[in-house]
Symmetry: C2
Subunit: 231 residues, 2 copies
DNA sequence: AATCTTCGACTGAACGCTCAGTCACTATGT
DNA sequence: ACATAGTGACTGAGCGTTCAGTCGAAGATT
């Protein structure tokens, strides 16, 4: 019989946390695959964060996940599979954070402020994982590398859409698609910068100060760009 | 962190060309050490860029450098030593680029435009190496990791100094040290972003468009009329 | 000049070890 | 009885690192 646990976890975990037809498995029971892959990911992330992908051994992961090497390889075909699952999972969590940030959207420029704040808070919370993604992407098999990079762009695209929505409600015209795109990219990497340089930046600035400064920084450019019209 | 230290950088500069007392060697002849380490670095960089640090073998490096493994280990105590030398070398090249950019400085806001342009051009030229640094820093022994991270901040500090100089010649007051710092950090990572996302960004924007947009973006935050210099 | 000695850069086969991945076997549940 | 899930000792390739030995050049000795 299905354990309660299995059903419970299975409902929480999205496809990226476990079942992907891209990553085939020996085990038939899909719920079990989902659950075990969830365990693998949960075990692997902190190990990768602490020791990096290459210095982490499959045994460490298996042990931390609570089963044997052999068993782990029933759910995964290679160590790189694990890396890919981890990347999907991190992306997923970031995306969820951004989505929920966009959900409390107010309107107008206040929404922009809020967007920036919440995005930076997500980055602050996920700092280690975001750094991991930067270090690790190159080690992925190339078809998956591509997908992970595109996922990354996907998040920026969510910001683009939000910006466009804000611009229309604010009746701001004359911003080209390209400008929206670059603006969203800037916001994204302002978040990522905090994850890379927090060790240094936080000596002088709290996350709150950082948010305040960067909000003004972005807002200074936002209306200005439109009044200027085309470059 | 001091301006003194920035001026002092010259000594590190020569060290990173090969000879560092931090990295001891078996070989007596210092000139030879410098030369051979240069060869090692030149051989290692493209390999690291193409395959990553962990997937590159010491044999590959030795072969590409033109001598045997054993000989290489006369000039270096471990594979991580090589990584450290590579990091110093890359930092050095970036710093040289930035320095020369600051040398043709004009004055006023035009100088700021030029600073941004030249820095972004340096990033564009050094894209692969900059990416490598991001991926690799974590793999360094911790005392060297620290030093490499501080070097990175050092470059941002050069931009801070330049900004301050510009602000004083422009009689711009009321900008706090913290704001200069964050502004310089933003410029830095705007450059780094191009290295990470060039594969995507360059589909829509040439480097020139990117520079133009980012220049306006940064200048918008510099609280005065900069519109006259629009190029 | 001819021979011997010392020196130090250079070599690459060999060593010891790690670790991803396998497989013959056991346990469990239906 | 059968299918499915789980185990962990085992394998072998690949790695960083070492070290006994080579070689040519530069003194030193005859």
């Amino acid at each position: 019989m299905d354990k309660l646990e299995t059903a419970f976890k299975g409902s929480i975990l999205t496809k990226s946390r476990g079942v992907t037809n891209e990553v085939p498995t020996q085990v038939k029971n899909q719920d079990l695959v989902t659950q075990r892959r969830g365990q693998i990911i949960e075990a692997a992330v902190p190990l990768f964060v602490a020791n990096g992908f290459h210095k982490t051994t499959t045994r460490q992961i298996a042990k931390a996940a609570g089963f044997s090497v052999g068993s782990m390889y029933e759910y995964v075909n290679s160590k790189e599979d694990i890396l890919y699952l981890v990347c999907l999972s991190i992306h997923d969590e970031v995306e969820r954070g951004v989505t929920s940030a966009l959900d409390h959207a107010e309107s107008g420029l206040m929404a922009l402020r809020q967007l920036i704040r919440e995005f930076l808070m997500v980055c602050n919370r996920m700092a280690e994982q975001i750094q991991l993604m930067y270090q690790v992407t190159k080690s992925l098999p190339s078809q998956w590398k591509r997908r992970v990079l595109e996922n990354e762009i996907g998040i920026t695209q969510m910001i683009v859409d939000a910006l466009k929505r804000i611009a229309t409600t604010e009746k701001l015209e004359g911003i080209s698609d390209g400008e929206f795109d670059l603006l969203a990219n800037n916001i994204t990497i302002i978040g990522h910068m905090w994850t890379f340089r927090r060790w240094y930046l936080s000596q002088q600035h709290s996350i709150e100060e950082y948010i305040r400064f960067q909000t003004e920084f972005v807002l200074a450019a936002f209306p200005v760009k439109m009044k200027q019209g085309k470059k």
